[in-house]
Subunit: 423 residues, 4 copies
């Protein structure tokens, strides 16, 4: 439904043409400095009409301001721990008058499925299936991100990794195993370790690889010139995540991330770490060896030499960067006539209406970051519940095989036969 | 955590070496014929030791019977609507004695992350991270599947679509656009429309393409010979699904499926419909045109000519087959020595222990089917709640643009200007 | 937290002095006629300043308009099935300046507990603990009530049953068993079967018993004259409820109602049916005998001759009126000096501030109705999910002892020994 | 449904005559010593047949052992943090043969409502509506109670406070205000502060007041002699609870407790603190003045001089003892013929079957304690999530009116006008 999260819970509302869109964030930690200025930047990065690459920008076509207004839950710039409601007004909320094009459910849009589900749909735009619905998520994530940064130094950065057939080298390099591929992957991991949002925003395509960026721009402009659209992928890295997040068995960290990402409109796929390319690898090369870490003042002394796991093992974060990639289909709204049929099953041609966004992936970047932040924030709070209740228990001695701590020399219990346990 | 679903809710329990594993299924529709014989077949398909391709089969190594015992919720072979508890006993539940190998967290296993999360872990096997945990899911899904079949004729069939580099032709064909690719894809869609579980089980590799099956077998045996392991992908199709399932915005059908699949141990990726390959397509070729359907006695008069959407639009099923692919990494447990380090950060070699399953994808087939069934069952019940409460409301006239029904000739409201709505 | 309901879900937000208060209603059945006019009446009944019995009414003191603005989820006056956000602006949302009185946590208020919980609190009024928070609930219930009325003819009416020591006769009559008591109770049940909101609103005390009403008014005015406050009880009846609502074991209908009612500020107790007085009765007089019902066109052929059960048995509605009583303490805010201590533990006197509502129960009437409506609406939808999924199963013959249907004459299985089953 | 709790989640299963009853406890803090011996004592206190006051004890009638078997989630006597499944076998699980009495839905039982809800019911005993269902709750609470004791020193003690018309003096004393009443109440609060379970178990009636106990025994034996049953109330105190538990607005601590208590079979009412009698008090006498507390080493420096609030304010615990009272109706199963009608609406007499428990309140004592423990445990974990995430934020200065801390002398912001805020 429209709520995400178990303890840090976000509920969104709004269609493309109703009075406003927004959300309620319930469960925000109290005592955090927060103003609308913390929330607005990502909303502005998400906004249509930022460049002629994405949504057409003629002022008469698009003039959304998308200013967020916090309704509750903060006072004097401090969170109270109570629900934080946020509202972003829609500029246009007239119901839509019927036209010829309404005879047709738009191909690969949600018109027909909404009517199957609800027996009624919003008259105009995408209704609740519109990308405008994501405003509530991005606003909510502004709060989560501020917390993650302040309390843990966690950074979340997403970027465009492919547009159509133009893709960053790491995507294909991962399939090979030669020296060149290894170099490409090393560059990729280095990039993940330091890329920032301002790096990403250096070009409106939001791909940090300058050469690749040009190819992507060409894909977009070509699609635009042909009144067509083009898909792409967004890759995201989460750095500074503590180990221990994610709830086996159903709410593994990767499962929640996958859920979060596939809830974004127009997504068709998700992969974490080695992902689909990892399925072609052998175990001995896919396994990430443990190494000692330089971790000042904490007990997470270990890290991994490689990161095919993508920062999760057994559904739980291991302290390495979490990275994943999300597939976006080409936008269904195109400026071309399409052969299809009416709601009544009569074949015909759905005429083009207006000009449209040829590619959504640059604008999807902050949305992917938002859903990542919401997922991590909730996982952190659930783990805090466990960790701090467990921390009040009297310490009890554990078997070495249950604690990862080697037994004292000559201690009992070290010589038994190993129970075979392959499952 | 360990509960999945909003109305049809499954809660599982159990580690690899405790007394038993199992689940409670809450919310099962009452009045359905059900015995253990409905649940056992998929448990047996899931069981290790079915062939020398997967888990080694020497009787002393593996002799799990995995017989399910229903504890509650049925009487005289009929479901009561009350919680159905199911128990499968573990054969071996001695705690594990400490050995040299316990000095090391196993690479790409959950040993280290469990200790980070819980500060304690099961001494033996994979504990809760073991694939044995999936028994509860598969048992629960036996109930869901029976319902889906009886009440809707829904069929769920999964199969191995790749092992290592050996993959079914449709996977790469989808990247091209030539005539040959088209033929391969046509074959793929035809196969999806009729494949059965017995087709899949004709070969223990569980790939329905005989030629490809041989290549996969070679991949598995080669990995086995090298004391290594190999990954793969499982593709799953759901046929007969009514339109209207899936709950925008966060619980879109594909989001819940992705969540479900990424909660299976060893998974690294999920894609629905055109998936990652769809990101390279143009909108005009990716859009699925609507066509009239021959649907006796229902109002779902439309279908799609192609199915790049994978049966979902706007997060809601459209009545076409839902299909998706899941990526499994190569098993982390291999029969080779591995350079790694101890819990204390001391570099060393983790010695091999025993022989292990070189490839899990054939056994993952019923687990993928199970999670699909649980997801669909819950989505069906949530939609039933809406549909049948809405169905009691007095009918009210809807604007044509809200109903997909053309206005009567000369009716008012058909001439207004179209509100531009691209988002 | 701030969400109520499993399928029909309400999330509220807002403090007494933030920008606005309101809610998001998720899961509303689509296709229902709905405008702000459906929601406003109960908000107006809830509003402070309706009479000089409750909140003081001088215009400078209270001038809340409490006009609801629907933000989303409806179009052209029809619900879309998507989340319905509602906003009611606060008139005054300046942060509060510190004064002498802020040295003291107010006795029996939430000042101190909020600081213990959140380490921060809203500076003014009751913050989130204010009765103003209930606006979101009452608005949400306007939607639920409209559905319940349209689809099931369900009616929910609450009234003031006691103020201080002035109470309606049924409350004490229930303890006795004489002829007079029986007559009083008969009158009570008759009243429950037909009382309407306009009956209740005939007097601003909102007690339908004219004589009792006068006594209550005296209690209120006496408390007011003494700068004191007084508590009371609200009784509520739900008529027209279908049998079968409520979810064993934890979500029994009475359990959810109790949860709902005790979540209203200032409540201290809940009883359903015979309630606490039933604890003094014997089983043979408390048991409600079954009788044939005149139920046109449905299979709920039975009713009960008495209704000590309060319309629920085993946590499930039985089709008889559900009635319950809710205890409200005297308001903690009084216009008297109080001996207490400061946050720092220094004894002192908290000086009076202004004039306050001596009695909240008349205004609590629509809030009790609201929480009842939200509880019933959710229970209905959960039951619809079960009933309509079960309804698609092929019929199977049931044992007579499982179906309540007598076996055919000479049928097998009627002679076995009775298993003793007292638990 | 059958799951209780948000973070510490208990799911129960089982009918009176299926194979076993039990539960899964998900979210238990890891690293706690736990064996079946921690769980068994309360199960034994709950068991029928403990005395001739409650369930008849002839060995042929009742010989339940109710031994719990832990299936998972612990190893070597330590909790792993994974789900803990527990099973208690039923002695008798034959389906019940049809007899004459099955023609009749039992008055005030769940026979008829289960059939309305599920269209099928268990053939024998109470099925899921049986008190036997509470075994899973009591087992789960054994774990929660151990944690609460070890980590916080929290104690939960319930006792029988009335049986029929025999009731402990505090119940009526609370209505008065004279010196004698004050003395009775003082005794009551003193008793609450130190009563233990062994005090309660000194007499099988489980009332700690010896004189009252005798009267209660007479009520029970009298009802028994008359083949009748009698109701009663159970009062429960929770001591040592930290301040800050309970989640506004819907999940106030008293709301969750009410939910928990009304989910116990046969309950009809709940009141916390002053409860229903508080509704007759004036605000100035009901308000609990703050006093300085001797609280070594914590910042909860305040307590209350009286405790009409019952330990909660604004839905949040204030550190004082939480106490509440629960109403139980007389058991519906009586050893008398009853005039009623059949499922088909034919009037007739339901013949008595066997001998039955005349009074359940002594056995309800551990069940009330169990539900209290589950409620508190979950509230603690949710608050831990908030508190420890908030605790990682950088400290920021708060306005005095937001923090309960007096401003420094001559500080700004102390002279502003007080915003009137009566709601």
């Amino acid at each position: 439904m429209s709520t995400f999260g178990q303890v840090f819970r976000v509920t969104t509302y709004g269609e493309s043409h109703c009075r406003s869109v927004g959300c309620i964030v319930d469960g925000c930690p109290p005592g955090m400095a927060l103003t609308e200025d913390d929330v607005q930047p990502q909303l502005s990065r998400r906004r249509p009409g930022q460049s002629n690459l994405t949504t057409p920008v003629a002022p008469t076509q698009r003039d959304e301001k998308d200013r967020v207004e916090i309704q509750s839950g903060i006072e004097c710039g401090v969170t109270l721990g109570t629900p934080i409601a946020m509202v972003v007004r829609n500029q246009d909320h007239r119901p839509h008058d019927y036209t010829e094009t309404d005879l047709y459910p738009r191909p690969s849009h949600a018109d027909w499925t909404y009517i199957q589900k609800y027996a009624v749909k919003a008259s105009s735009g995408g209704g609740r299936a519109s990308a405008r619905e994501t405003i509530g998520r991005v606003a909510a994530a502004g709060i989560a991100e501020k917390y993650l940064k302040l309390a843990y130094g966690i950074e979340i950065v997403a970027f465009v990794s492919s547009v159509g057939k133009a893709c960053m080298p790491f995507i294909h390099a991962q399939d090979g195993a030669g020296a060149k591929s290894k170099a490409i992957l090393d560059d990729f991991y280095t990039m993940l370790s330091k890329i920032s949002r301002s790096d990403v925003d250096a070009d409106m395509v939001r791909c940090p690889d300058a050469a690749c960026c040009e190819e992507m721009r060409k894909e977009i402009l070509e699609a635009k010139a042909e009144n067509d659209s083009v898909g792409g992928t967004v890759t995201c890295v989460i750095r500074g995540l503590p180990a221990g997040l994610g709830e086996p068995c159903f709410d593994k960290l990767e499962a929640k991330l996958a859920h979060a990402m596939l809830s974004i409109p127009a997504t068709k796929g998700f992969e974490i770490g080695s992902g689909f390319r990892g399925t072609t690898m052998r175990g001995h090369e896919h396994n990430d060896p443990w190494i000692k870490r330089d971790a000042a003042g904490n007990d997470r002394a270990l890290g991994t030499a490689t990161n095919n796991s993508g920062g999760v093992q057994g559904g739980i974060s291991n302290g390495e960067p979490v990275y994943f990639r999300v597939a976006f289909k080409p936008p269904a709204t195109i400026s071309r006539n399409q052969e299809t049929c009416t709601y009544d099953g009569v074949s015909g041609v759905l005429a083009t209406r207006g000009r449209h966004d040829p590619c959504v992936v640059p604008r999807a970047v902050p949305i992917v970051e938002a859903m990542a932040a919401l997922t991590i924030m909730d996982a952190l709070m659930v783990q805090a519940a466990r960790q701090h209740t467990a921390g009040r228990l009297p310490a009890i001695p554990l078997q070495p095989s249950m604690s990862g701590k080697a037994p004292a020399p000559n201690a009992a219990g070290t010589e038994g036969a190993l129970a075979e346990a392959t499952e």
